[in-house]
Every structure is written in structure tokens, then in C-alpha cells.
Symmetry: C2
Subunit: 421 residues, 2 copies
């Protein structure tokens, strides 16, 4: 039996493990390197919409994800100034049928561990304490391979490299000189035992309270044992360059006009850390030979559509679908010469979709944070209209079934141009 | 036969003639006084929604109004920056059936003349050059009557006075110390022969182009012989106190980012006069004994819902409906002692509705003029949602069948308190 193709994944976050898992399932030999001394995820809750839970199910980990999380019944939007409920999406029943999978919420660390354990179970080789400094393509013996060099000089060789090294990606910097873009918004998070929660919100819903230049999100985690709260507001102190902020006076001030329910929910936040919200402007090219960006390294987005982790998993699904028909077409005899073509098709399929999500997430978030009374009235009318008339026209493009491979024509074009290059 | 009750109407605009007509039809002896040396209306086109055309039909003048105007097929909303069509309301067919009357547009002067001629035909006595300086109630022989005194000393006696003396109403000033509120927006208008129009818009529609801090409205008049254009924008020069403005540089500047179609339409405006847009904050009380405010004197509103004239006609319909069952209950023996009760019921019925329209018109206008890209996107989504899902939820309250008299309970209360006072 021929040697399996070897893939190196850079970055041990949800995106890195998702990609490692998807390619390992096809039979690749996968190594994953992570700069941190231990694997783990910081943060609190995470939403997984059906476009992502469909993938978790395909990879055999959905049931575990639901077990560690919660499958809420509703996504609810409220006006934080009046308390008015604007929209209540039932994400069970017809929604479930339409998108073929549940909407779930989970603790980031739970989902992360679940993907990591699945990778370990399937034999992905994990390395900590590897800070990759650069990648390069190596031409030898008529074939192209890829090489990653760590800051400490260690070298990792593979047929292909997937760089899922996050929004501050070192590998992206080799392809583009763009920088993360600060939104001036910061988040405080908290995932507390339900017993410590004074004013628990709706235990069967993800509730979003939309206020002027602020919002609050609440939902249960771990089968209701934890309660998750996220407060996001425009921070003058952060905008002024104050990266660390002591105390919560600014936070309280940001929510002072909100209904008491929202103000009380600020007690459920951890004040240890605040998270500035960054994204980047979409770039066209994610690929250099046999090295490709994935996840936040490729398309970091603001969190308003809750798609950061979901899109990282879609990246993995696309690489899986595309490589399955070329690199892994013969499962006993992998064709490593196809990696560049795989990456270019992946780039072509995924870039327009993720760019749209990046752009939409910005607008979506700003629509939550509108300040003027007219603007808020118009926004509320739109949300209420969706409540009355249905949400499919707003959700189908995002949650509907995806085509992860290029249409046949483009695929042939790509092969052709690859051959003639 | 007993003497008919006598009503004095102050103001010879559309509201004044509407009220004179409605009360004259019931048999009142009606005199109407106007401060201008001649009767007439300035301005250009006027929209009459079904809530008003139903009244014109009841008063027997709808056919003439349609003859002098146009019954458009559509009301169309477009984004002035992109040209995108956001909403196309068909105001024939189902809309006509639902509201029981057509949506029409007419030249203000045509509608004004039509109401005036109908008043003259029915025997309303008209006086020009009467600038009413004050009104008062007169108690004599156990009955209350009303008296208007002109600036030149002439005195007009009547059982009741309807003061339709416009947004700068002298009579309102007797009841309230509020002032007109400037919106900082000004309008340029034009109603030109179709032969002089370079870029005529859709000849079967009222088209509204919504731009940042500006909008443009276009529709045909007089069976298509005239073409009406209104440009409304936020005027820095007006806000700065410059009441008269020479030239159109500011106007052109205000529309500079709009599609060429909109910019070209500015050629169709008359630059002789610009009209600052004022309204007032709603007040609760319109009545002093046997004197009542009506039309703009009672509830001046911004033009964005096109309800100024329509609501003046609704006032007339309410006075007609209420007085028909008391003052005119016996058509051969009018009960003039009921005028105060009539006016108080009219006030109670009409004030909440017109206050809502005044308030909504402001918000509606501001939603047309939104400047930020997110705000405009959300607004456009709302309009497009209405285009897909129907407009009834937004229009029923305004155009649907009205109850012009108070519910029986309140009506009895009113009579009771009137008797016991």
C-alpha cells in the first residue's frame, strides 16, 4: 500500500481540529501543531447553526455536541430599551426540517475538546509549543511539498499545509499585508453555574437584546447547568487605546438606558477579561501553492451572525468534499499532486461565501446597535415583519444546504489551467 | 320653518371649504371668510388617499376630482442613490376593493376650486379680505353663540365657528401658546406641461425617490397634461435662518449623489419659491365653547404621509357625522345648543388619530432621509419586505374605514357631562 498523503494543520483551535478531522477521515496522515503549551479554548458560549451542525453530524460528533450543550427552542430578539419582543424564531419543527439539523449552543471549550478527542481517536498527531514562523513550498523530484518552520527552528514537512492560525495568522501575512480591523466594540462574557445566576433569562432560548451601541446575549449551556451571558458595547476607553480596563463603570454606563432585566444581567459577566471585536476586510487569495488559509486566518468575521466557528467547519467540509474527488479519489493511492488544485477550488468556492458573511456580519451588528429613534423604529419594524412573515428569506442563504465543490464547468477549467500553467 | 343654525368657517383653504361643504349639506347656513383678497391655492400636486376620496365621493365631487387629476396605478418607492425599486404598491384592484375608493392625485388649485364651486353651488356665502383677529363665545338669552371680529373691526356672528385658518392659526393661539416647528427641510415644486418635461417619470405612478437627507416625488396631473415634481431636502441655508434663497446651487448639491434620473428631474422644478416644512406638536384641546379648530389649525403635519388635506376632509366628515345626530337630528328645527357637545365629541374622536398621523409622518419622513449605509440597508429591507408580503399592516390604520363618531358609551358620557356642567 502506498504512503498516505500527509497534511499539516497549523493551529489547534476549533477550525484547526475541524480541518484535521475532516482530512483524517479521508485517510490523510495529519499532524497538527499549536503554539500554546496546552490545548484549550478560552471564551464562553458558542452558537452552532444548522449549516455547521449538519457537518458535526456527518463527522459523527453531533450527538456528543448536543449532550454537552443545549438545543434551544427559540432565537429571540428584543429591544433593550423597551423590552419589546421583536422576533421569536422557532428553531425546531419547520426550521429543523428545512435546514436538516438543529441549532445548538455549547461552551467553546466543550466543542473544542470534542473535536480534539475525535481527532486523537482517529490518530491525528498533535504537537504543542510549536510557533510556526513561516511556511514555504518545496519543489523536489518533480513534486511540490510544503514545509513549516517553527520559531525554534523545528521543521515540519507535509504534502499540504492548512493554516488555521487565527485572526493574527502568521501565514496570512505571507499572502497579504492587511491587518485586523478594530470595531471599537468590546465583549464581556460569563458562563456561570445556574445556581449563581440571579436573573436567569429564558432557559429554552437564545435571547438577543439590542440596544444603542450595545447588546446583550443570553442562553443556557451544558443542559442548563451553566448560563451564558455576553455583553458587547462600543467602548470609548478601548477606542482611545486603553487595552486593559479596570472596573465595570464603562460597562454599566453603556447599558444605563436599558430595561432593568438587561442591567441586572451584567452581574452575570466575568470581569477578568474584555474582548475587543476585530475582523478583517475580505481578501481574494488564500492559497500559496500547497499552503492554504482556513478559518479565521482566511476570513475573520465579527460575531454578529455567530459564524466564526461555523465557517471554519464549512472550510473543512469544503476541503473534504473537494479533495475526496481528487487527492483521495483512490483511497489506497492518494494523489498528493492534486493539493494545489484542491486548494484553488476550495478558495474559489469558499471565498465569495465567507466574504459575504464577513460583510453581512458588520451590517447585521450595526443594525443591532442603531442609536437614533427613527433608525430603531425602522429596524424594529423590519424584525417584526420577519416575525410575522417568516425568516427564510433572511436565513436560507446562510443555513441552507451548501455546495462545497465548484460546479463541474469551473472545476474542469481549474484543472485545465492547473495543467497548462 | 325655524331658522337654520348658522356656522362661520374661518379660512378659505381646502380644509375650510371641506368643512363648509359638509355642514352646508346638512342644512346649516354657512359663511366662510378668507383673509386673502382672492380665493385660490398655491402649490402644485396633492395626493388624496382612499380615506379622503371616500369622502369626496360621499359629497358628490369625486368624479370631478378624478377628471381634473389622475388615478395612478402604482405608488413606487425607490432608493435615490442606487435607483433600486423597493416597493410598488398597486393602488387599483385589491387595494381599491379593500379601501373602497381610489388613490388620486390632483393639482391643489383644481381640488380647491372644485370644493369652492360646490360650496357656492350649495349656497355657502363667501367673503374675502377678512382677517379674523379673534373669536369669542357670547352668552345671551340663555344661549351661547360665537363671534369673530376682524382686524378691521367687522363682526361675524354665528352659532358656531370652525377655525380652519391654517398652521399659523390666530384662533389656535387663543387656545395654546405652541408654535410651528421647523423641520429644516424645504421643498421646491413644479407642475409643468408634459411637453416641457425632459425626463418624464412613470406616467401611471406616484414615484418617491428616497435619498440621504433628500427625496423627490414625481407624478402626472390633469390626465397627464401636467407633470408634478417635488424635491424636499435638508437646507443648511434655511436652518441658518436664510428665509429666501437665490439660485439652486444648494438644491443641486443636496442631490449630487443621486442617480442621474433624479438629478435630471430637478430641471422640472420651479425655482420661484421654496417651501419650508413645518408642523406642530399635537395639542389636546381644539375647542373653546362654540369655536373649534380644524385642518392645519388643529393638527398641522409634515407632508410625508400626504395627509394634510386628507385629514382636513376627515375633520369635516367627523363634524358632519356628529352634528347630524344632534344639531341636525331634526332637519327642520336645528338644535344650536348642541354645538359645544358636537365640538367636544369631534375633538375626542379626531385628536388621537391626527396626533398619531402627525407623529408618524415625522418618523416616516426621517426614514426616507436616512444617511448611514446600515440604516439605509435596514430601511430598504423593510420596504422590500412590504413589497413581498403586502402593505396592509402599514396602511389599514390610515386608509381603512373610519368611525367619525364616538362610541355610544363615550357619547352618552359627553352628553351627560355637557348637561351637568
Amino acid at each position: 500500500m502506498a504512503q498516505p498523503t500527509k497534511v499539516l494543520v497549523i493551529g489547534g483551535g476549533i477550525g484547526g481540529f475541524g480541518n484535521a478531522l475532516a482530512l483524517r477521515r479521508l485517510g490523510a496522515e495529519v499532524e497538527l501543531v499549536e503554539q500554546a503549551p496546552e490545548f484549550g479554548e478560552v471564551g464562553a458560549g458558542l452558537q452552532m447553526s444548522p449549516n455547521a451542525t449538519r457537518l458535526l453530524r456527518e463527522w459523527g460528533v453531533l450527538d456528543k455536541a448536543i449532550e454537552t450543550g443545549v438545543a434551544p427552542r427559540y432565537i429571540v430578539f428584543r429591544d433593550a430599551l423597551t423590552g419589546e419582543e421583536l422576533l421569536r424564531e422557532d428553531v425546531t419543527g419547520e426550521y429543523y426540517e428545512r435546514y436538516g439539523a438543529p441549532y445548538i449552543v455549547a461552551h467553546r471549550s466543550d466543542l473544542h475538546r470534542l473535536l480534539m478527542e475525535e481527532c486523537q481517536k482517529l490518530g491525528v498527531i498533535l504537537h504543542n509549543d510549536v510557533r510556526v514562523a513561516k511556511t514555504e513550498n518545496v519543489e523536489a523530484d518533480g513534486r511540490t511539498t510544503a514545509r513549516a518552520t517553527a520559531a525554534d527552528g523545528r521543521v515540519f514537512e507535509a504534502d499540504a499545509i492548512v493554516a488555521a492560525d487565527g485572526i493574527k495568522s502568521v501565514i496570512r501575512a505571507q499572502l497579504s499585508d492587511d491587518e485586523p480591523v478594530g470595531s471599537e466594540y468590546v465583549a464581556y462574557r460569563g458562563a456561570l453555574p445556574i445556581s449563581q445566576i440571579k436573573h436567569a433569562g429564558d432557559m429554552e432560548a437564545v435571547v438577543v437584546w439590542m440596544g444603542p451601541e450595545c447588546h446583550l446575549v443570553q442562553y443556557p449551556l451544558r443542559q442548563g447547568d451553566l448560563f451564558n451571558t455576553v455583553a458587547v458595547y462600543r467602548s470609548k476607553s478601548f477606542a482611545a487605546g486603553q487595552l486593559v480596563y479596570e472596573g465595570d463603570a464603562e460597562l454599566r454606563e453603556a447599558y444605563k438606558d436599558c430595561v432593568p432585566e438587561v442591567q441586572a444581567a451584567l452581574d452575570n459577566l466575568s470581569h477578568v477579561q474584555r474582548w475587543p471585536m476585530f475582523d478583517r476586510v475580505p481578501i481574494e487569495n488564500w492559497v500559496d501553492g500547497n499552503v492554504a488559509l482556513a478559518g479565521d486566518a482566511a476570513h475573520p468575521m465579527l460575531q454578529y451572525l455567530a459564524q466564526g466557528a461555523c465557517q471554519a467547519l464549512e472550510d473543512a467540509a469544503a476541503l473534504e468534499a473537494i479533495s475526496a474527488k481528487s487527492v483521495f479519489a483512490d483511497r489506497d493511492n492518494h494523489d498528493a499532486s492534486q493539493w494545489n488544485a484542491v486548494f484553488r477550488e476550495y478558495n474559489a468556492v469558499r471565498q465569495p461565501r465567507t466574504a459575504r458573511i464577513q460583510t453581512t456580519a458588520r451590517v447585521w451588528g450595526e443594525s443591532w446597535h442603531l442609536t437614533g429613534p427613527v433608525e430603531r423604529t425602522v429596524r424594529n419594524m423590519l424584525w417584526k415583519s420577519a416575525d410575522r412573515h417568516g425568516i427564510w428569506e433572511y436565513t436560507d442563504w446562510l443555513y441552507g444546504e451548501q455546495q462545497y465543490t465548484a460546479p463541474v464547468e469551473s472545476s474542469e477549467d481549474a484543472t485545465l489551467s492547473s495543467t497548462t500553467r
